[in-house]
Symmetry: C2
Amino acid sequence: MQERATPPPPRLGATPLPGRRCTFQVWAPLASSVEVKLPGSGRIEPLRASDDGHFSGTLSQIDVGVEYVYRLDGKRELPDPASREQAQGVHGPSRVCDLRYDWQDGAWRGLPLRNYVLYELHVGTFSRAGTFDGVIPELERLRALGVTAIELMPVAQFPGARNWGYDGVYPFAVQQSYGGVRGLQRLVDACHRAGLAVVLDVVYNHLGPEGNYLREFGPYFTERYSTPWGAALNFDGADNHGVRRFFIENALQWIEDFHIDALRLDAVHAIIDRSARPFLEELADTVRERGEELGRRRYLIGESDLNDPRVVQPAELGGMGLDAVWSDDFHHAAHSLLTGETSGYYADFGRLEQLARAFRTGMSQPGEYSKHRRCRHGRLGAELRPEQAVICIQNHDQIGNRLLGERYAELLSFEQQKLAASVLCLSSYLPLLFMGEEYGEKAPFQYFISHGDEALVEAVRKGRREEFAAFGWTGATPDPASVETFERCILDHELRNSGQHQQLHRWYTALLQLRATLPSCRPQAVMAFEARGVLLVQRSAAAWMAYCFSPEPSQITLPVPEGHWQVLLSSADSEWGGPGTTIPPQLESVGELHLRLQPHSFLCCGRPGNE
Amino acid sequence: MQERATPPPPRLGATPLPGRRCTFQVWAPLASSVEVKLPGSGRIEPLRASDDGHFSGTLSQIDVGVEYVYRLDGKRELPDPASREQAQGVHGPSRVCDLRYDWQDGAWRGLPLRNYVLYELHVGTFSRAGTFDGVIPELERLRALGVTAIELMPVAQFPGARNWGYDGVYPFAVQQSYGGVRGLQRLVDACHRAGLAVVLDVVYNHLGPEGNYLREFGPYFTERYSTPWGAALNFDGADNHGVRRFFIENALQWIEDFHIDALRLDAVHAIIDRSARPFLEELADTVRERGEELGRRRYLIGESDLNDPRVVQPAELGGMGLDAVWSDDFHHAAHSLLTGETSGYYADFGRLEQLARAFRTGMSQPGEYSKHRRCRHGRLGAELRPEQAVICIQNHDQIGNRLLGERYAELLSFEQQKLAASVLCLSSYLPLLFMGEEYGEKAPFQYFISHGDEALVEAVRKGRREEFAAFGWTGATPDPASVETFERCILDHELRNSGQHQQLHRWYTALLQLRATLPSCRPQAVMAFEARGVLLVQRSAAAWMAYCFSPEPSQITLPVPEGHWQVLLSSADSEWGGPGTTIPPQLESVGELHLRLQPHSFLCCGRPGNE
């Protein structure tokens, strides 16, 4: 057994105590002295150093809400790396914040991961208000849709008010423009009362480029490795204990003070850590133990592009012990079939067999040679259990990394959108919807920022333009820094009440209702009929699914036992706005069923009373 | 099961065929054309490109011994990365070489790894001749000493004639000044006929700084990671298949064409590879399979400073599947006890308990905080089996990385040297002797090079001077590039025939004879008595060892069953040049034995007829 990694008290940052007292603690091994300075009063108080580079102290007459900075070596005045509130933005002073909240979610018992149906949303563009409170009115509707977990894109304080969240520089602070600490607590409380779990996207692989003062305090970063987004964090070099504590305590904050049910760990492949006891394993052990102590299991879901099953294997098998991973393969396999796109990272996809493998194993490139990566990718023979992979047909990255950020509502026909939805909702793996896809939202999801540093803004603009040019794009390019780009991405929830948008929303609801009746286990059979463009999936003895990707009508034979069968769901039905179907709702098998499928359609057959 | 990684024929490099034909193959994905050019005749022949960046072709009228270069894109003329012979040094042309040899070692069946007693030697300084042939006259003596395996420091072609070997730039070529391909084959053949296994040190983590033309051919290196010795090799990025094939085929060459029994993989912690199917695992699988096909098991022994048991765990447990690792911990624990040194990486050592843990687990820092590294090191609870760790009290690094390269013969008293030898020879792990330590060789092992590039030589000189200065050294510093430095390191085998040198040699022989009678299993008990300076080890029911590190006489009680016991070996005996012992050779236990130990002594007690 490994040692317990939970840090000792006091916690990092400013922690108010009864009687107007407040404890401060900061890891600053590069400083020889650290003081707390209150800019409002000019008061300066020294902190006491410990052997391992932490400075701490308890001060009296500190009110919640007061601003403070740390003064290092009597000179440099900097905000707190573990600040909970940056009311004046990333360059301003930190603020003493009370994380205690009057929770009303005592009845919430959590959900097992296998029951997660995730709904990823970006707080800033989900509602016109762009706040946590702006999400709450939609919760009941999402619950009725069949969603069981809200996944919030990162909320750690970032520069300005418009950002996807991956430029956060105060991992412990909640974005002020979203509603800050209280806003997030209200949203989680509301979710739990609505029966919804909350997943929070956290970034432990890099920090944003503006307002990042961590390197002034200690060796948070290393030069030995690099990430696509700048300096790599120091998880395996000298003094990594302070870096690990910082992020592990961060995970515990979300769990303890915000009642978060699961963390989505951004790009764990960019957490480069070659130690014999890796940070991720230590994090997973700590979160598991803390969840048990708190009486409710918490989950860690990693985004990883390594296709390495060790991410979710237990430590005894040499793994990191995360609970689940995002499967990009599943998305790419579905996307290239649906759109016909084969450029960039879609070069490795486009055949039904790849989607079939993704249905079987959660991955479609286990150990194969990847043309796009120009190397073997993943691990031969690897398989993920149904609750070990989060899959999607759209997400913030897959939409937002397109030049114009178009959604399927722009790229696909209505019938194709319904087909895509059925691929998403009825595989064995955990589906993740991207906000608005359930009603065919038209707003794009484009890349937007609002950094204060003009040189940085220009660099981002230039980078985007070059990226566009590399793809041969000659038209106008959305300016990532403009308000218009951001506003263009705000959802129009009104759409949902009319026409095909409404039909699509009902279709998602029907799919998720059907999903809830199916066992959470690997499919019994998955067959790809490339020439006919049909994927056949047997999810249980009594449930067969046919996905027709062909633009022409196609034929399929289901090898099902004799007796009565019925159509449980058919996307071609006029009920779902389809062209109509020739298949009667009641079927009689003579050892097999011959079915004629409409172009771009989905059909599910079941055996009555046999689920 | 993972796929077979053995490369398809033809093999890399120049391979002579019957009838004066010769196949050439080179991986050069950065070239659009590759030709073979024979500088002697001016003949130029094109090679045919394959999809994966390899160029190959079979040419006629090619004699063994002819010189050739590759011409890339009709312009750059370069030696073959897989050259077997660089008769004119690292910048000269390659030479067609016939690896076939008239082997006389048919009776050799190999040794199980648990029976390895290794003897590390540097070919250039082991004998006055500095050649493979210069080693052969000592083989019978080493066999009689109790050595069972010769370990050769790297022999791949390096710049000049004086080098430790870690600056090699032609991994497939055998250093010309050592005797080249034939010389190595003769030595291995002679070892096997003398009943000795041969371990070869190979460097798969970097290439030397001079004469390294690999990056002209393909993406052998990556900028994403770095090693202390320059660019990291590309084992997990685009086109890594060519890099992996290069080194895997290299390993197979030593096994197949040179009958090498085991490879010592230099610094595997500097092989940075985050793929789901790591290179080391692929290498281990391939070597294992090839050994089985050839009817004799081959071993991989990694040098790793990660203290990570996954290096030797099987792939099913998330490991790399190497057979054994070097344990620096064992050395450091013993060294700091013997010398009292506690600076640099010895800061974490100096207590008996650390040596006790190294006797128990093969490591002494499993998961503990390291003051030197300023982080937790290794993995708590990890244990290595006896055949999974190679241990030493001296080796090329531990001696050679000292400022003046002094050996224990300079640093320790005679009694301490004998004590050190008993620590080495009688732990459960696989002992490695460094050439000459068995007779107390006085020659230092200093850092030496003979690069041709003057700027590089000056940089190395400067680096060494700065390193010396950092340690506060103000005296003269050995010039790594001078012939004198090299010659100072050449062994004086004559020493062995006189005085304490002869006594020490007999002592090592006696220790290794005793070792051969002991079971290869973890000790039954290991106890550290810090105050008395005594380490007590029960290697079996009938064998107790007491190591006295105290400079004063010390007492110890062995809790052994009633009956007759005897002293099997006592370093204090006058027979071994010791001060004499007060312990009678025959002992009677009354449930315990009270023994008075001489300063810096070793004693082994056994139960007659009970082994």
